[in-house]
Symmetry: C2
Subunit: 340 residues, 2 copies
DNA sequence: TTGTAAGCGTTATCAC
DNA sequence: GTGATAACGCTTACAA
């Protein structure tokens, strides 16, 4: 039951002023020319009496908490879990702790939690927004509150963001399909109005255009990043008289849904149709067939987001129109038939 | 640029004492018989001037922060990500926020982060320990610090914990194999000295004993919850002259390693050997063959952990020898050959 | 029905 | 080299 002690009690015990103690404990001993002896005494007593600084009081005084708020739509989603990992790691290395909030893909929660984080006096916020509305985020940024958006960004407001190069990633995926002889490529999308989704669809269209393939609107379908959506749209696609020879799934969960549907319909991937998916996962290699994917560099994204935020915290002038798009990587496996 | 305002500024603006304001804002208006008019004025002004309470000051005064620390070995691991989700959800419903720390499976980090969380004056801590040493945790508990252990618990110290019934889960898995005609069952384990691992191995042994199968020490092997471990041990097992007819993998990552090895050796699951794995995953159904697993009720674990912690925070007397083991569930799929 | 003032544990300013 | 003291923003006796 080793009780801990505060600076006042230390000062009483040592017959020294709290000022001196504070100085020693904050490494300002030389700066204030505090004697060697005093230093040692203080350090020793602090250890013995188990002094634990109260970061609340410190934060109140210095108006800074060494805490950054992290708001994600769903921490269960491996994509956000990985992002959180890299963010936590980088932040912790820089002496910051993470207040984690999960909006559960709900805009109202997101707004409320942003408010909560502000009350907590976090030094800044990294947010992966639900993705449709941005006014609450813009408002925060206008107040000059340090804020970095990741993943589902907003191009029309000048809040700093870091995200994947979704356009290029999608373009590469579809180009890869085309170059291997696919002519009728369906695109099962996620949240239609979210920017990453738009960028991916744009990349899909651009690739078709570049290679002079016809654009069929009926081949762009779906409405969420879920497995269910992948399943339903696949069933739908193969109820047409001329089904596609390839599917581009805009998320890993969608791809799982596609695989499920294929199994049920006794269709073989990649013999009956090819599949390529956004989002690399630990299990991507273990599916049958192993999945060809577009990998997002989550570590890079997280790390950069933290560093941009910290710069922002130090100097708020810096923070307009900072936007970073991280390249993706195509991982070749066996879910795409190499026809040529 | 709507600046926010503190209670003092509000008081000046309204020509009311901070006391009154505080009372109204904390819903104690009736209790102190504050007039309707005053109430309204206060509420209105608070909204207009954008009053944001400073939780630091509040926490300092009340010595309570409405924050709970969560310390996990690896937030990237879907198991801990899911646990975090349910913990965040339950905590947030009860008005608490989560300070997230990741020990990166490292004991030294764990010790340091526990200290950090204490400095932050969190009201309590939920920890999924690295799992081998418990003295630092025990120390915290002895100081009467509200603390709940999840997953990798310690039976020999009286810190409250909530975890899966690993023994029963393992027993059920092995019994299932035996009842379907398997005679030579290997067990690829995770962290050997962690309690969940011990319990699972015990369950494995108990099932063999119950059904009068011989126990071979060479069939219990491995040393970590990683995919690599699963891979290596499987290669090893099948370099013996008489390989097992079933493998019990003590984690999902281990199972992925087993599958990889099987593929490389051109062995078919379940025809050449059966596989059953601890830990259900979203993709378990999508592997080929789909994986028979022992599911842990992560939601239950997280929810209970939070509620036990909150009770502990309210009344520290309650917190000795509280331990809960949540039942697991066997999910039957196609990785086990049904021989009988 | 409202107000005064102390105190939570720090750090910073100014003084000696 | 060291120390008083005010201040950070809030809650709560105690007064009125």
């Amino acid at each position: 039951m080793s009780k801990s002690v505060n600076i006042k009690e230390l000062s009483k015990y040592l017959n020294l002023s709290v000022t001196t103690i504070s100085r020693v404990l904050n490494g300002k001993a030389k700066e204030y020319r505090i004697s060697e002896k005093t230093c040692e005494k203080v350090l020793k007593a602090a250890k013995e009496l188990n002094y634990i600084p109260n970061t609340l009081a410190r934060g109140l005084k210095l108006s800074k908490t060494d805490t950054i708020g992290l708001l994600v739509p769903n921490i269960s989603n491996p994509f956000f879990a990985d992002l959180s990992k890299s963010i936590e790691k980088e932040a912790s290395q820089k002496g910051y702790l993470i207040l984690l909030c999960d909006s559960d893909e709900n805009q109202q929660n997101e707004i409320k939690l942003l408010e909560t984080l502000k009350k907590r006096k976090v030094d800044g916020i990294i947010i992966a927004p639900v993705g449709l509305e941005s006014s609450h985020i813009q408002k925060l940024h206008r107040e000059n509150f340090p804020l970095v958006v990741i993943d589902r960004y907003f191009p029309d407001i000048n809040v700093p963001y870091v995200t994947s190069d979704n356009f290029q990633g999608a373009y590469n995926a579809v180009e890869y399909l085309i170059k291997h002889g696919h002519k009728k490529i369906a695109c099962i999308q996620g949240l239609p109005n979210s920017q990453p989704n738009k960028d991916r669809v744009r990349g899909y269209l651009e690739a078709l255009k570049t290679y002079n393939l016809p654009i069929e609107n009926s081949l762009i379908l779906g409405d969420s990043y879920s497995e269910e959506n992948g399943y339903i749209q696949t069933r739908l696609l193969f109820s047409f008289n001329s089904p596609p020879d390839a599917i581009f799934a805009l998320s890993n969960l969608i791809a799982l849904g596609v695989i499920k549907a294929a199994k049920e319909m006794n269709l073989n991937i990649p013999d009956d149709f090819s599949l390529i998916s956004f989002d690399e996962q630990p299990y991507s290699a273990f599916l049958t067939p192993s999945l060809t994917t577009i990998e997002q560099q989550r570590n890079e994204i997280g790390k950069l987001a933290v560093n941009i935020l910290l710069k922002f915290i130090q100097d708020s002038n810096i923070a307009n129109n900072v936007n970073v798009k991280i390249a993706t990587r195509l991982i070749e496996r066996n879910s795409v038939k190499l026809k040529k």
